[in-house]
Amino acid sequence: MEERVTNVLLSGVGGQGTILASDILCSVFHEMGYDVKKSEVHGMAQRGGDVTTHFRFGKKVYSPLIKYGEVDYLVSMELLEGLRYINWLKREGKVLLNLQEIFPPAVNLGKMKYPEDIVSQFKKYFNGRVYPIQGLNLAIQCGDPRAANIVILGAFSTFFEFPEEVWERNLLSHLPPKIHELNLKAFRAGRGAMS
């Protein structure tokens, strides 16, 4: 195993399932033999505020927080919440973007504009390493818009050569049985979107 610690920053809006996705990541990488640490802020996050989770894996992880500017993978469940962390990426970092827009209060009130061309802003700096995914649409096709987080997780899983079985088993162990089928579909749709 390489010494280096890999940094994944997940961002989104409260209620999008960012934290669940990062829980599953933790279990998968731990099962694959890595030391892992994950940090998130609870409390007010479920009230529609921005949510970020720092997930780190490697031989030995000290800090639960990623150092600013050291993100290897930025995984965003929402476009604006992706753009908010663009400066956190390393030069060679990769960006996975759910092409979903959720308006924050200032935009709803007509006081500020939702930024345009977020994907191209990323492409300007990370050309060839930006992966836009129709997470919401794919989740709706699978049967429930709430599974968009799992679509994105499926897409993210393709960056690593772990057995698909490990991903799917850990995914299901975090979910109640009645939504297993839906989430497996969503996970596979996410993987499919990357191929």
């Binding site: 940090s39 609870h42 996050a45 009230r47 639960p64 600013y68």
Partner: protein, 604 residues
């Protein structure tokens, strides 16, 4: 076996492995999950309770300890303020069964009304304090805390903070071992357990002797660890700060303190002689630094460069210690100009409806602690002040004392159901007793919302989901002597405004209780709205923006093009509002606000 655990779950696991029998808490971020974990995963072995407040939680734990059981009370930093009265004195009595108090700090105040540094309680109360740095240590230190408590006859503090309590990392699991302390109350031992002056003076000396013994112990404590690397720089640190610093400066030497009170002075002196320069990295106050400076040790860097406010991070530590040599990462986009995304009341939340009524009435609102503090944000801007649990009720009374009759019709107190039971009863008693005239509005959403939906004495269920007596707010207020008690359905805007107006103008104490207004995230209780959602009749919408003043996340504004610049009946408009059907639960508040009948029920 190894398992990934959140810091709070690891504390619960450690307590369980240590044989804890009684665990009490009042929810508070970032500490709440400790009791959740114990009540869900270890309920066969541990008696758990959500107490009405932290003071009660600690008192129940103290009683359990005196009866020989290992007991724990867990709380957030400001919770220990509430529990400080029993805390300061149980330090004198000591314990019978091991007694552990977990206190979780919240640097940067992610979800708190202040960012106080709880380490001062250890020094103030003369109680040992352990500080874990990750989940494994959360488990180990909690176990150890019970052992130390019995060995040294003292309560023991375990201090975490957001990035320890809410971080996840692997934990090696162990088995449960029951404590050897026999259960049962000791035969009358007043000098130990009864803190009247004559015995206080006896125990006072014992406390000092205990702290001396603990200081000897901590010099050899296995979790005060020295890592010798580059002898030029030695860092003294603890908890998560160790992880941040180690991340950026792995080459430095370290003294990592697992026990931060009392300090291992001998060990610190030895370490300072082994390295050329001492740097102290700690979050919030210069707690270690003040003590270590007082030992006469020269400090190269401490709070001269490390900020004394907000939480630290690897980047902040690096920038502070590298000074001018620090190179910040490249700025690609000036993200500070992006639209912010502050937390907001959920769509359909009954608090929005209630605060919209208050906003329209233009009242000064003495707020309290809970989701409803979010009503302070624009566009609602409906809270005048927020101090701590229960402070709104007394605050409004205090203001009315000064304003006299002039104040009638101008202010009110607003407090949640859980918060009212926590600390709102004594001030309401005060209003009646001292002939006040202020109005207290109890927002009963039938749960402790902001901390993640915990039960309380007003929900009718215990932490384990057992049905129990449910406090009736109306009866309670009546028993305190309140004569004017009104119930309102906050989703009925007109009626709510009328009732509030009448009561705030009344020259007598009054209480308004919201009914049929459960939290939108409630798992058991659901408000049944008449319609599945509402929609905007675009042809009628004049774009006045009045509905936007409620700040509902489901309603947004868009500018219109030239073709759309007139309403059906010929009124000029710059834009229209739209309702996101996926987000709208159909509460209907916006439809009551709209003056042009442009918002109507949708059909499923």
């Amino acid at each position: 076996m190894e398992k990934i655990l959140q810091g709070n779950y690891a504390i619960a696991r450690g307590a369980w492995e240590a044989g804890v029998r009684v665990a009490c808490a009042y929810p508070g971020t970032p500490s709440s999950e400790i009791l959740t974990a114990l009540s869900q995963e270890y309920k066969e072995d541990v008696l758990t309770e959500w107490s009405p407040n932290e003071k009660v939680a600690l008192e129940v734990a103290i009683g359990a300890s005196f009866a020989g059981a290992r007991a724990m009370a867990s709380m957030k930093h400001v919770g220990l303020n509430v529990a400080s009265d029993p805390f300061m004195t149980v330090s004198y009595t000591g314990v019978k069964g091991g007694l552990v108090v977990v206190v979780a700090d919240d640097p940067s105040s992610h979800s708190s009304q202040n960012e106080q540094d709880s380490r001062h309680w250890a020094r103030f109360g003369k109680v040992p304090m352990l500080e874990p740095s990750d989940s494994q240590e959360c488990k180990e230190f909690t176990k150890l805390a019970f052992e130390l408590s019995e060995e040294f006859d003292t309560p023991v503090l375990v201090r975490t903070e957001t990035r320890v309590a809410h971080s996840f990392s692997p934990v090696k699991l162990g088995e449960r071992k029951e404590s050897h302390t026999p259960l049962g109350l000791d035969k009358k031992d007043a000098p130990k357990y009864t803190m009247v002056p004559i015995y206080v003076r006896v125990r006072r000396k014992i406390v000092e002797e205990r702290m001396k013994k603990l200081e000897e112990f901590t010099n050899e404590f296995k979790y005060n660890t020295v890592e010798m690397n580059d002898p030029r720089i030695g860092v003294i640190t603890s908890g998560v700060c160790y992880n941040y610093t180690k991340e950026v400066f792995p080459e430095y030497s370290y003294l990592k303190l697992g026990m931060i009170w009392p300090l291992p002075k001998k060990l610190i002196s030895e370490f300072s002689r082994k390295v050329k320069k001492i740097i102290i990295v700690e979050q919030l106050d210069p707690f270690l630094e003040t003590e270590i400076r007082a030992m006469g040790i020269k400090i190269f860097h401490g709070k001269d460069v490390i900020p004394n406010h907000y939480e630290l991070s690897p980047e902040i530590v690096e920038r502070a210690l590298k000074g001018k040599k620090y190179k910040p990462p490249k700025i690609r986009v000036h993200t500070e100009g992006l639209p912010p995304r502050p937390p907001n009341l959920c769509s359909g939340c009954s608090h929005r409806a209630l605060f919209y009524a208050i906003k329209r009435l233009g009242l000064f609102t003495f707020g309290d602690i809970g989701c409803y503090t979010l009503a302070t944000a624009p566009p609602l801007n409906a809270i005048h002040s927020t101090i701590c649990m229960g402070a709104g009720v007394g605050g409004a009374f205090g203001a009315m004392k000064v304003l006299g009759k002039e104040g009638l019709g101008k202010c009110c107190a607003v407090i949640g159901d859980s918060t009212f039971l926590h600390a709102g009863i004594p001030p309401l008693m005060d209003i009646v007793y001292n002939k006040g005239n202020s109005t207290t509005i109890i927002l009963d959403n039938q749960t402790t919302g902001m901390t993640g939906l915990q039960e309380h004495p007003g929900t009718g269920y215990t932490v384990t989901g057992d049905p129990t007596h449910r406090i009736n707010f109306e009866e309670l207020a009546r028993a305190l002597g309140v004569k004017h008690i009104r119930k309102v359905d906050p989703y009925n805007l007109k009626e709510t405004m009328e009732v509030i107006k009448e009561e705030v103008e009344r020259d007598e104490p009054s209480v308004i209780i919201t009914v049929n207004s459960p939290c939108m995230l409630h798992r058991r209780e659901k408000r049944k709205f008449e319609h599945p959602f509402y929609k905007v009749l675009t042809e009628k919408c004049r774009g006045c923006g009045l509905c936007l003043e409620a700040g509902c996340p489901a309603i947004s504004w868009r500018e219109v093009t030239e073709e759309e610049s007139l309403t059906q009946d010929g009124h000029k408009r710059k834009g229209v509002v739209q309702i996101n059907r996926l987000q709208c639960p159909g509460c209907g508040l916006c439809s009551q606000i709209c003056k042009f009948e442009a918002i109507v029920p949708g059909e499923a």
